[in-house]
């Protein structure tokens, strides 16, 4: 026994050192093992957050660099030469090889395909080039090795309806298809690969080089050409992964708020045991360590499980992602430093979340703790009062940023605003329980009792409500945001999904403009009939003719189309912005402009900005044009009024037709239109990508709903445990199973309804703040999805509560063992 006395430390306060900490942590872990079910909600939330962080960061790391690689391969710089003659080009390439050492040359030539607006790119590239490997891969067959051989991409093979071994006529040459190729960094890159020896004869040549930007810019081509130098690939992947990691940190911070509420519940449930520990001589520090160690253990489990889940999800998603993002992905390319950081963050977040509940529980007087009486909760009004400024600040920040995200600062502000807003909602949540209790004064006994229990045990119900509000808020925000994004995207892109643009030949957007040939009425009638045939391929089509303004007899050239140009970018050189079309009521209707209501002094209406000039006449500055809101990029965007035409004595020529239908145009309809157009010497253009945002919206809604339902299901278990005391007493006083069912159904349904109301209201406020400049984007509201969130989930929760409460408590008189 003397040995024991001597083994005791002699410190004044005597915190017991490492043996004491070991004993406390051991006990905390044993408790976690015994009571893990009660912490499943927190564990699941943290695990999902870590999974999202690791999976998202890995995806970002792998997806981001593709754009650079698609254009530059593994080169750090590119030099782009346009329109060089072959002899000069050979000299420039040789000089480049001497200047840079190793180079890789890619030549490009564009040839038209009948019926298609987009020409085919004939690309000459060495498959064994020093830098081009990330841009070229063989899918089938072999690479072209001689004149007259090509390898095509899948998309082009489909368009040309060829396969390996077939022949195809392009640019007055018959080519033999010897292979299928792809650009692994851009699967949408449609091209035909030709023998590398044909690079010199190309319209443009890109030289891929290593070295610095300064080195590339100091290169002087012997031909005197000034190549466009593009910067080398940076650390886009790393930056994107860091960006996702920062976003994940915000997500983890939000989850840790919910986790903190969960740890409050855990600490309060263990209050009596903490009292026992204190009675055995534990200090406040030891008591804190119990809850903190619990939090750290939860964080560690969530970190490991979440990281594993994230990686599994990543591996499972790779095939789908390749299709979605349009480039090949190396699934083994995992940024382990990101995974490590995310797991450490999860442990830190959980430990930090446990700190405050640990501190509060450790400060409860020992006698009160032993009696199991938690300290009197703070009135909800106080937390609500704290919540309001956070909500106001969040809305203000989101309104300031709006939906125009242009920079990293905007993204950071959105994150700060969202976090402030969510924090405010979480602080406000307990007050809503109290308000609901007041509203339910005249409700039936089970409903009244359920809501009063929720109000009485706000520390518990507040945590559940916060989690539900957050989950449903995110789901509602995703639904609203995707709806708004769908609206916004409908006003963007080349065309809407219900439009086809039929053109007579190719209308250039850059370079020299050729005169439009003077067609006879018979030729025009034939073309009109072809357009009608194309229109007949889609349902209920409306055809709007589009005329371009012509400047007759300019410098001896007749029929040159009028154009809108920029200021001079270099002496005597302006950039063409668009052709100038004749304003008609039908066309201006797409910009919500009534031609009859346009100021008579206005001659030019345009979507272009800045100082504008008109050509091909003597350059004429555009005086006071009427600015139009930006619309679809392929639709005419600059117009001259009939009065403007008359004043200038300009003529018009039919250039295109806009075919509009009531339903989205299918791929089959588009293919048929292309065939008809090709036969008539016309080209057809449709929306580049159709349906992606609908799929995104449906997918995001489904994911949001599933996550919310999962959290709700877990919460019902917590609620059931909380109401078991009431159920026991009710049963002892003769309550039927119907009353018991009603009690739990009201608890679960009421909590879910409150969560849905708070979450949806929060989501509405946040999305309205983000779209304050264009509230029209929110309409029509996605009613079905919001109804599912706002009513469907509460009903499901109530039903689950009703079904789960059927069993009579096994021991009516006894309290359950802790």
């Amino acid at each position: 026994m003397a040995t024991l006395q001597a083994a005791r430390p002699k410190g004044t306060a005597g915190n017991g050192g490492a043996p004491a900490r070991r004993a406390v942590v051991r006990w905390a872990l044993r408790l976690l093992r015994r009571e893990w079910r009660s912490q499943f909600l927190v564990l699941a939330l943290l695990t999902l957050a870590v999974a999202a962080a690791t999976g998202g960061a890995t995806a970002a790391f792998n997806l981001a660099p593709a754009e650079g690689e698609a254009e530059r391969g593994s080169a750090s710089q590119t030099l782009h030469f346009e329109d060089s003659d072959p002899a000069a080009m050979s000299l420039d390439i040789a000089a480049g090889e001497e200047w840079f050492g190793t180079i890789d040359v890619i030549g490009r030539r564009f040839v038209p395909i009948p019926g298609m607006f987009e020409p085919v790119e004939l690309r000459s590239q060495d498959p064994d080039g020093a830098f081009g490997a990330p841009m070229l891969a063989l899918v089938d067959g072999r690479y072209p090795a001689a004149d007259g051989e090509i390898a095509v991409t899948d998309a082009l093979a489909e368009t040309l309806e060829v396969q390996v071994g077939a022949t195809v006529d392009l640019d007055d040459t018959t080519w033999t298809v010897v292979g299928l190729v792809e650009n692994p960094s851009d699967l949408s890159d449609a091209f035909a690969l030709v023998d590398p020896s044909q690079a010199v004869g190309s319209e443009s040549v890109t030289i891929l080089v290593g070295g610095s930007t300064d080195r590339a810019q100091s290169f002087r081509a012997p031909s005197g050409a000034s190549p466009t130098v593009s910067g080398g690939p940076g650390d886009e992947g790393v930056l994107a992964a860091v960006g996702v990691l920062v976003a994940a940190s915000v997500l983890l911070a939000l989850v840790s708020l919910v986790a903190a509420a969960g740890f409050v519940v855990v600490a309060q449930r263990r209050l009596r045991q903490l009292g026992m520990l204190a009675a055995s001589g534990a200090t406040e520090r030891h008591l804190r360590l119990v809850t903190v160690a619990n939090g750290a253990a939860i964080g560690l489990i969530a970190a490991v499980t979440g990281a594993a889940l994230g990686l599994v999800a990543w591996l499972a998603a790779v095939p789908g992602l390749e299709t979605a993002v349009g480039h090949r992905i190396a699934s083994s390319n995992v940024p382990w430093w990101v995974i490590g950081t995310a797991t450490v963050l999860a442990v830190v977040a959980a430990t930090t979340a446990a700190w405050w509940p640990a501190r509060s529980a450790a400060r409860v007087p020992i006698v009160a703790a032993l009696s199991g009486r938690p300290p009197r909760p703070r009135p909800a009004g106080r937390s609500a009062a704290w919540g309001i400024p956070f909500i106001v600040a969040g809305i203000a920040i989101l309104m300031i940023v709006g939906n125009l995200v242009d920079s990293f600062i905007d993204i950071a502000l959105i994150m700060v605003g969202t976090m402030s807003f969510v924090l405010g909602i979480l602080l406000l949540a307990p007050a809503t329980i109290r308000a609901a209790t007041r509203l339910a004064r005249r409700a039936s006994v089970p409903v009244r009792l359920a809501l009063r229990d929720l109000a009485r045990y706000r520390a518990r119900s507040g945590a559940a409500l916060a989690a539900i509000s957050l989950a449903l808020g995110i789901a509602a925000a995703v639904v609203l945001a995707s709806s708004a994004a769908l609206y916004t995207s409908n006003a963007e892109g080349n065309l809407s999904e219900t439009q086809l643009l039929v053109r007579i030949g190719e209308i250039p957007s850059t370079g020299d403009v050729s005169p439009i040939p003077d067609r006879s009425q018979a030729e025009l009638d034939q073309i009109e009939r072809a357009v009608d045939e194309i229109a007949a391929t889609v349902e209920e089509a409306t055809v709007t003719p589009i005329d371009v303004a012509l400047a007759p007899d300019f410098e001896g050239i007749d029929g040159l189309p009028a154009m809108v140009l920029t200021e001079e970018v270099s002496p005597g050189l302006r950039r063409i912005l668009s052709l100038l079309y004749v304003a008609t009521p039908e066309l201006l209707d797409h910009y919500d402009v009534d031609l009859d209501a346009v100021d008579p002094s206005t001659e030019i209406l345009t979507v272009e900005t800045g100082t504008l000039w008109l050509e091909p006449t003597e350059p004429e500055i555009v005086e006071d044009p009427t600015r139009l809101s930006a619309g679809y990029t392929s639709l005419p965007g600059s117009f001259i009024t009939p009065a403007g035409l008359r004043d200038r004595g300009w003529d018009t020529a039919r250039a295109a037709w806009l075919i509009e239908t009531t339903a989205p145009i299918s791929e089959d309809q588009f293919d048929e239109a292309v065939l008809l157009a090709g036969n008539a010497g016309l080209t057809v253009e449709a929306r580049d990508s159709q349906g992606d945002l609908y799929a995104l919206r449906a997918g995001a809604t489904a994911v949001g709903m599933v996550v919310a339902l999962g959290i709700l299901a877990m919460t019902v278990g917590l609620i059931r445990a909380e109401t078991s005391g009431d159920v026991r007493i009710l049963t002892a006083t003769g309550a039927t199973s119907r009353i018991r069912r009603s009690l739990l159904a009201a608890t679960a349904g009421g909590l879910a309804l409150l969560g849905a109301l708070v979450g949806t209201a929060g989501a509405f406020l946040a999305i309205i703040a983000l779209h304050a400049r264009d509230l029209g984007a929110l309409f029509p509201l996605p009613g079905l999805h919001l109804a599912l969130i706002g009513l469907g989930l509460p009903l499901a929760a109530a039903l689950a509560g009703w079904l789960l409460a059927a069993r009579e408590p096994p021991a009516i008189a006894r309290r359950p063992i802790e």
Binding site: M1, T3, L4, Q5, A7, R8, P9, G11, T12, A13, G14, N15, G16, G17, P19, A20, R22, A23, V24, R26, W27, R30, L31, R33, R34, Q273, G275, M276, L277, A278, A279, S280, G281, A282, T283, E284, R285, H286, P365, I366, V367, L370, I817, E818
Partner: protein, 241 residues
């Protein structure tokens, strides 16, 4: 001989204003080593409050509490915790064993909290359990122990590490009479080894095991005297015969 526990003019007040309740009013008493004192009184008389103040579980509003001559009122919370670990053992009516720890771990816990190495603490804990006849139940968790066994484990925890003062709040309240008697016999044995024991009870049969009985009513000590001849004295007389 210096008293292990001394209370001088100890008062305890809960709440304030109209809600003010005087749980204890100017209580004075002392307990020496080897002495067992029983505290009796009706519900709400302040018995348990007196015990929690004596056990450094809460502080008196006024007056002075000395344990082994050290004034508790001037101690920090950590120093009071150390006092609980080293000098005071507490036995509760409902055992208050930590559910996640085995019997041996529960017993050795105060030593480990005091910085004793795990192996030494465990050896001391097993020794205490052996003394109380529970060495074969050392690895069992509280859920697997009977009520009597749980209370004996709680007593082992209260005496391990050479404590000077044992405070028992209705130690046999949750036990049947046989187990209750066993517990009181153990407390009596502990007392004989020099520990000061204070037992709070409603039961005069339990109080009969004590050397002295203090009576509390409405927070005041109203009487104190020698315990009536209780079961142990009868037993001893019987043995003497």
């Amino acid at each position: 001989m210096r008293s292990v526990l001394e209370m001088h003019q100890v008062s305890k007040t809960h709440g304030s204003g109209a809600m003010e309740v005087h749980a204890l009013k100017e209580v004075n008493f002392a307990v020496n080593g080897g002495e067992m004192v029983a505290i009796m009184g009706p519900s709400g008389s302040g018995k348990s409050t007196l015990l929690t103040i004596a056990g450094c579980l809460e502080n008196a509003t006024a007056g002075e509490v000395l344990i082994d001559g050290a004034a508790v009122s001037g101690m920090s919370r950590d120093e009071q915790a150390r006092m609980r670990r080293r000098s005071i053992g507490y036995v509760f009516q409902d055992f208050n064993l930590l559910a996640g720890l085995t019997a041996a771990e529960n017993v050795s816990l105060p030593l480990e909290l005091d910085g004793v190495a795990t192996s030494s603490a465990r050896a001391a804990g097993l020794d205490a359990l052996r003394t109380l006849g529970l060495d074969d139940r050392a690895g069992a968790f509280p859920d697997d122990l009977s009520g009597g066994e749980r209370q004996r484990v709680a007593i082992a925890r209260a005496v391990v590490g050479h404590r000077r003062l044992l405070l028992a709040d209705e130690p046999s309240g949750a036990l049947d009479s046989a187990n209750g008697e066993t517990v009181m016999r153990l407390l009596r044995d502990i007392c004989r080894r020099g520990m000061a024991v204070v037992v709070v009870t409603h039961d005069s049969q339990i109080a009969a095991w004590a050397d002295r009985v203090l009576f509390l009513r409405d927070g005041r000590m109203v009487d104190q005297g020698t315990a009536p001849r209780g079961p142990e004295s009868l037993l001893n007389e019987g043995l003497d015969l």
